[in-house]
Assembly symmetry: C2
Homo-oligomer: 335 residues x 2
Amino acid sequence: MGKRITSHDVARRAGVSRSAVSLVLNGRAEGAISAQNQEAVLRAVNELGYRPNTVARSLRNASTHTIGVVTDSILSTGFGGDMVNEATRAAAARGYLLLVVDCDRNPVREQEAVQVLKSRQCDGLMLAAEHLREWQPPPGFADEKCLLLDAVDPSGQVPGVVSDEVGGARSATELLLRAGHREIAYLTGESHYLAAGMRVQGHTKALAAAGLGPQLVECGWDISDGLRVGLRLLDSPDRPTAVLCANDRVAAGVFLAAARLGLSIPDELSVVGYDNDRNVAPHLGLTTISLPHRAMGARAIEVLLDVMAGRAVESTRLLVDSPVVERASVAPPSR
Amino acid sequence: MGKRITSHDVARRAGVSRSAVSLVLNGRAEGAISAQNQEAVLRAVNELGYRPNTVARSLRNASTHTIGVVTDSILSTGFGGDMVNEATRAAAARGYLLLVVDCDRNPVREQEAVQVLKSRQCDGLMLAAEHLREWQPPPGFADEKCLLLDAVDPSGQVPGVVSDEVGGARSATELLLRAGHREIAYLTGESHYLAAGMRVQGHTKALAAAGLGPQLVECGWDISDGLRVGLRLLDSPDRPTAVLCANDRVAAGVFLAAARLGLSIPDELSVVGYDNDRNVAPHLGLTTISLPHRAMGARAIEVLLDVMAGRAVESTRLLVDSPVVERASVAPPSR
DNA sequence: TTGAAAGCGCTAACAT
DNA sequence: ATGTTAGCGCTTTCAA
């Protein structure tokens, strides 16, 4: 631990008491400390480079102004980092610091992390998932002021901030329908993923509204999956005119498949991704559905601070919109 | 802050004094507390679910067992997450918690973050970069026990743990030479990136040892760059037989270009990437140079704890090896 | 072998 | 309007 400048030093230098220093620094000085002394305190603070010892303040106030965040694999995969990042900002803007512990999907480490964060006296606790999933909170978690982020509690006890997957897939589909497409294939992620199922729902619903049925192809989540399935699906004269992809990486695979088959995008094939993956979508000119990670992170802090303040949450699933990001991979069908 | 079980509660329940509880819990009981009472304390701890209040302990011990980590954009880009993740583990194994603040490359936020972490009384401070760069530590940083991770201090004051970029590019080149290639193009990242320059060095050195000169093409770091440059470079009969890429995303772009041009990899073209990007390399069967993020993270904690213990660091640049990861994108040249 | 007491740096109730 | 004091929960002398 660094320096040794305490409020006592400041008080001495300013010629006032330690309580005076405390009052000034906590904005409770008005009507209690003379303007002259306030001035003196502030000057001493600057001259000495004094910063209050947060640890002592935490002990005294029974509040650390920290929020403990346990993540499953956000750090290791890099997916969802924006969410945590924006949460960090939103928290900082309110004087809170996030204590983030990534547990790499290891339940034992998750349990330990919750214990560690509790013993560090976090004012609130959060479980943040890389992508939408069910997440049974570890023991002791639900005893605290807490919230899930991009996850739902199967027991319904802890509320969660989640993205609107159904709505996102619906928007994507409507976009293709508006462009004139009638033969749309959907390369879905594995069906045991929560998000995959919800997206299929939204997709199917939008098609039904246009009097169409879905063409679903279970695929996967990676470039290689998009390539493999794309090659099979597109190498035929009655291929679909548009493909909706499980995510942007799959879309990249479809781009690769189209290149091999000599199909040009978007003239002969429209492609829509999902996630708005910064490493993929902009570089491919890919139209995609944005996962609203930043908004979710900000929302989560807002809600959790409400919970910490004792206010009730209106619902157990707090939906955040997933807007379409239009780029150049969609055009009217050529036939 | 949660429940209110203190060491006092434990002491009462065990029928001993608070100091006895402290001694037992800190392993200093032997020869001081009777076996019977130790037993009683442990039992009471379990029954009550007591966990020591870390804040109080920190205040008393003048040590928080935390390490403050300021990152430039690891969280937002997801690149280098493994580094932080492994650092978290290594720290946890020694009873330390990482306080990670991502500042999104914003210098003002970086300054603030350092101040916040200092006032939180972190025992050590770290600056961790998304990828190798020069990083002038913010004011106040170098006053603490500190270290850079994947970054170098231009003033040479603060030591840094960095990957061996020169060695990595040399290994990659040697691999292609061993496979029989003589016409190797290197799609470099922008030259103002520190890593790009060092990789060119390693590449050139390895070629020189084989009596060859480099074919350097300044390119960029993204899929679109690889595609663009790849189309130009490979659409000619005297194209290179092998391409070494600035990173794996560029390599993905080259794959795309090769697909368009009808070139099969690795039969007609060998490709080597850099980074071992988990979202790209394995799915493309791409041979690549691994950025040793995990090893770097672990090493950083090790070194920083040494610094915190007052031990001197042997060098200002602590190199970590960058090993080759062989997959299926390299074969002997076809001509 | 154990308990009483001081004190880490801060804030807030209470005197002055 | 300002200073004194108690105490947050813990560890660590120091007496008993």
